[in-house]
């Protein structure tokens, strides 16, 4: 199946007609936050007034993706998000406490559910087709992608809009920091991977893709497969998953032109990548994408946008020694907290 269009709001200048990652944004501190567009030109101001930041990011990228693909009525809208609309959830819960559960404003409650973004896109389009949201930690986007692929394989849908979205809020960041996820001392995202330590930098983003079973002749890339696995017990088990994933698609690891990995500068987290880069991925050019977008549970959606862009461009922009190789196959390997691991394989059309 094919990626007809992709749209991405991230901590880099990735939305709209920006040149592809020509100038990278540097962040020093604990988090990378999204560079957001002027939404009034993208969403009806009457609707924007009820939308929190994550909803605006999701709706803007989803609608942009549809616009790029020239599709007004997708056959399905599927999203993946680990935390959902946290700002609205926080507002609603805080008001419940402050007002002793009395006279509560309905809007934050209505907008706080995890499926708000897919629902808002459907409402805007008056789209009554399949609409689903997957909430499964670090595998949320992969689950959404797998659902989209199954719909396309089964022939029940011809065009599916699929996206991964998560946001940072002050409260969620404070809680996750207390759990040891983030660095205790400020660091630059450009140096994050060069100075390994305890914890990483937080990130956020919204990336949507228009997938189709039929080639349009103008597609970004082809999706060869997606696979996720849970809490592998050893590096050998991870290697086995990678080998099986490639073997079932009749692909040798040497055929992979570029591997995009989820190194995030956290010593505990990066051990797995280090071992794979030493052996399995030793001879493959690599990009560590989390220096661009930070760590969040649906960051693999950013990685897929990056992979699709690299394939569309035909050359690897970030690895000097390989920039003359025409990219044919790009493998994304990511794990979130060493709990949810995933593989996504894209190829040139």
């Amino acid at each position: 199946m094919y990626i007809k269009a992709a749209s991405n709001i991230s901590p880099q200048n990735t939305f709209g007609n920006q040149p592809y990652l020509s100038e990278l944004a540097e962040y020093t501190g604990e988090q990378l936050t999204c560079i957001e567009p002027e939404y009034k030109t993208l969403i009806d101001p009457k609707l924007i007034r009820r939308m929190s930041r994550i909803i605006k990011m999701g709706v803007a990228t989803g609608m942009d993706c549809l616009h790029q693909a020239g599709i007004n009525a997708p056959d399905a809208i599927i999203t993946g998000t680990a935390y959902g609309c946290l700002a609205d959830t926080n507002t609603f819960l805080s008001k419940m406490v402050q007002q002793n559960e009395d006279a509560l404003s309905p809007t934050p409650f209505i907008q706080s559910t995890h499926n708000t973004i897919s629902a808002q896109i459907a409402l805007l389009l008056q789209c009554h087709q399949y609409n689903n949201t997957f909430v499964n930690g670090g595998a949320s986007f992969e689950n959404a992608l797998l659902d989209a692929m199954m719909l396309l394989y089964e022939g029940t849908a011809a065009n599916v809009l699929v996206g991964g979205i998560d946001e940072i809020t002050a409260n969620s960041h404070a809680i996750l920091k207390r759990m040891g996820l983030y660095r205790r001392f400020p660091v630059s995202n450009f140096e994050l991977l060069n100075i390994p330590g305890e914890g990483t930098m937080a990130g956020e983003g919204a990336a949507f893709f228009m997938l189709s079973q039929e080639a349009s002749g103008n597609d970004w890339a082809k999706i060869e497969g997606v696979s996720s696995f849970y809490k592998p017990r050893s590096i050998a088990e991870i290697q086995q998953h990678i080998n099986t994933f490639l073997l079932t698609r009749h692909i040798d690891i040497n055929e992979i032109d570029l591997v995009i990995t989820g190194n995030n500068g956290d010593l505990k987290n990066d051990t797995v990548y280090g071992q794979l880069q030493q052996y399995d991925f030793a001879n493959i050019p690599a990009i560590n994408y989390k220096a661009l977008c930070g760590e969040y549970p649906t960051s693999s959606a950013f990685a897929m946008w990056l992979a699709a862009h690299e394939i569309k461009n035909g050359v690897c922009s970030f690895v000097p020694q390989s920039n003359q190789i025409p990219l044919k196959k790009v493998l994304i390997y990511n794990h979130y907290q060493n709990i949810h691991h995933s593989l996504i394989l894209l190829s040139a059309c």
Binding site: K40, S105, T107
Partner: protein, 87 residues
């Protein structure tokens, strides 16, 4: 009454997060729903919450809603006739 209506206009804009709308853009007798300010059913719920929070006034009969929320003036009249003294 004029002070109450001026306050209401500011509170409506804030509560409903009306973008690019100023208090002077809302007429005292301008319809709030439909073709007027363009509010909808969720806004009606927000207005009920606003009256309860700011003025301690409760809407006891939902069927009275369209009449009470017709304009800023009708809301102000409803508050005046239903407010609890010294509340």
């Amino acid at each position: 009454m004029d002070k109450l209506m001026a306050d209401l206009k500011e509170q409506i804009i804030e509560q409903l997060n009306l973008q690019d709308v100023k208090p002077e853009d809302i007429g005292d007798d301008q319809p709030l729903f439909g073709d007027g300010l363009g509010l909808d059913s969720i806004d009606a719920l927000e207005l009920i919450v606003l009256l309860q929070q700011k003025y301690k006034v409760k809407l006891s009969n939902a069927e009275d809603g369209p009449k009470i929320f017709r304009s800023v003036r009708t809301i102000a009249e409803f508050i005046e006739s239903n407010k609890i003294p010294n509340a």
